[in-house]
């Protein structure tokens, strides 16, 4: 049903009639053979595994079927550490609607790209610390696991700075 926008932004003139629509789709994503194995290990044993490319020896997290650089299939699974180094990091202050809930995601929150010890690629994850002055590229971090693990990336609650 069409309606006037209820709360035009402050300082703006009424923008007139705008017709609303809520995109709302529930997905059932297949995890696939690589992610399924990764998350089972994470849930059952609290361990983090990647796959190695037999060509260049890179260890990939997330694990995947093909090493793009070698254009060849990946090979054996290898365990990596639960500690690593920050490759890039930020603290998000800008509020936005979380597409997974349809509501605003709470801010501030810290997140980083973290290269775990033994991995060649880096993983997105949350940081416990939200003061940008205390964060930094090159600092070491350690995974903090949740007591009850369900088999998702959030079985790791966040990464904690190591001194």
């Amino acid at each position: 049903m069409s309606e006037k926008t209820k709360n035009p932004p402050a300082g703006k003139k009424d923008e007139g009639l705008r017709v609303p629509w809520l995109l709302s789709v529930e997905y059932q994503y297949a995890a696939g053979q690589f992610a399924t194995r990764f998350f089972q290990e994470l849930r059952d044993n609290g361990r983090i595994w990647g796959v190695r490319c037999p060509g260049c020896q890179r260890v990939y997290i997330p694990p995947r079927p093909v090493c793009g650089i070698c254009a060849g299939k990946t090979g054996e699974w290898v365990e990596v550490g639960d500690e690593g180094v920050i490759v890039g990091c930020t603290v998000v202050n800008v509020p936005f609607i979380d597409p997974m809930t349809g509501e605003q995601r709470p801010v501030p929150y810290g997140f980083a790209i973290i290269r775990l010890d033994g991995a060649s690629t880096a993983l997105y994850h949350f940081l416990e610390e939200t003061d940008p002055k205390k964060l930094g590229v090159g600092k070491r971090v350690k995974a903090v696991f949740r007591p009850e693990r369900k088999g998702t990336l959030l079985d790791i609650k966040h990464f904690r700075l190591l001194d």
Binding site: M1, E26, P65, G68
Partner: protein, 393 residues
């Protein structure tokens, strides 16, 4: 259009190979990235090409079905995209084939991988397809692809003077064909009565008159004439391509397809086809809904509603008939959005290279593949393929 849009000569772009997954109601064990890996891996093995030789990729997929913005990014590595040129079309895979052919004709690449993928099972068909509709006057009413197709079906029945039993005859033929296609999602020797008693989706559409929710992928390797000459296995050639766009669905006669007629005219002109019924040996149509097959046969010049019905009844369009239509079973038996049109090309390639197994049409040398996208077939594309040893007109 001031000029006809035609290919300069019929043997400049070859199809070196074509691979499809099995089409299934769901593929819960694979991500779409892994689906693409499966078809690309098999395609490269069959054509003897290494992944590192691929420098040009055109994919077709739909962000809303994939549940991901710029969903093409997930297939980069399995399709050979790292530091190479991948582009993504939001539309049917047959358009990706056209773009791939343009890249080869432009002399930019001697190989181009074309891939289409979709897992319809992962999202919600109603919610997703409703986003194609006018947001001001249509979405608030709850329209979706099935409802628009049902409106088109009723319109076609009325204008063409056809009966629901005629739609069932299309369904019967295609599901019987699909019994010979090991990749088919749905097949069976269904009676007309059984089809007309299948569950109502939106009347007059029934379960066996509409393509079911399906997961699958298709990959095709295009090559330059030099690549095609490398002695490996039989190839087919793109002999003509034609495309056209119709008006929005409420703004045209839904019982006809002016855009398909235009697309076909362009492709026939390019391929030197004057009498399609005689010159073509096999046809694969993207008709997810049974009425679309009759409607599209009409647009292709294979007879108005009545004539097409008579030919259908006479078995002309059956495997073994005069001009087999959808010997694979076609999209009605289950091909996902985005994949259906490219799958048609793959099927024609298999026919022309005598690799279609039990569904092989004897002595097929020239075939037509068709793809469509949008509400009630708004965008239409026709590709004419010829078998090896191209016949110069």
């Amino acid at each position: 259009m001031d000029r006809e849009v035609t290919l300069p000569a019929p043997e400049q772009v070859a199809i070196l190979g074509a691979v499809q997954t099995r089409y299934e109601a769901g593929k819960p064990h694979q991500t779409y990235n892994e689906l693409v890996h499966e078809v690309v891996d098999q395609l490269l093995a069959e054509t003897g090409v290494a992944l590192r030789e691929i420098q040009s990729i055109v994919s077709a997929s739909q962000d809303f079905f994939d549940g991901r913005t710029i969903s093409g990014m997930a297939i980069n590595e399995v399709a050979g995209g790292y530091l190479n040129s991948e582009s993504k079309i939001a539309g049917d895979g047959i358009q990706a084939l056209l773009y791939g052919a343009a890249r080869i004709l432009a002399g930019a690449y001697d190989l181009t991988l074309v891939v289409a993928h979709c897992k319809e099972s992962e999202g919600q068909f109603h919610q997703i397809t409703s986003t194609m509709f006018d947001p001001y006057v249509e979405r608030p009413l709850g329209l979706d692809e099935h409802i628009a197709a049902a409106l088109q079906a009723r319109r076609f029945l009325s204008v063409a003077g056809a009966a629901e039993a005629d739609l069932a005859a299309v369904s019967r033929k295609n599901h019987r064909h699909a019994m010979k296609n090991p990749l088919a999602r749905r097949s069976g020797d269904f009676s007309i009565e059984h089809i007309l008693a299948s569950a109502e989706i939106v009347s007059p559409l029934r379960d066996l008159l509409a393509g079911p929710i399906t997961d699958g992928a298709c990959a095709i390797l295009l090559g330059s004439p030099e690549r095609a000459r490398a002695p490996r296995r039989p190839v087919s050639w793109i002999a003509g391509m034609g495309s056209s766009t119709d008006a929005y669905w409420t703004d045209r006669e839904l019982a006809a397809s002016a855009a398909l007629a235009q697309a076909a005219e362009r492709a026939f002109a390019a391929a030197g086809i004057r009498k399609p019924l005689d010159d073509l040996h096999v046809v694969e149509l993207s008709a997810r809904y049974a009425h679309e097959e009759l409607l599209y046969l009409d647009a292709l010049g294979f007879g108005n509603g009545a004539a097409a019905k008579a030919r259908l009844a006479a078995g002309d369009f059956d495997l073994g008939g005069k001009l087999p239509v959808n010997p694979s079973g076609g999209a009605l038996t289950g091909n996902p959005t985005c994949v259906a049109g490219l799958a048609r090309v793959a099927e024609i390639h298999l026919q022309l290279t005598a690799a279609a197994g039990q569904r092989q049409v004897k002595d097929a040398r020239t075939g037509l593949a068709h793809g469509t996208s949008g509400i009630c077939g708004q965008s239409q594309t026709v590709v004419i393929l010829r078998g090896d040893a191209p016949q110069r007109p």
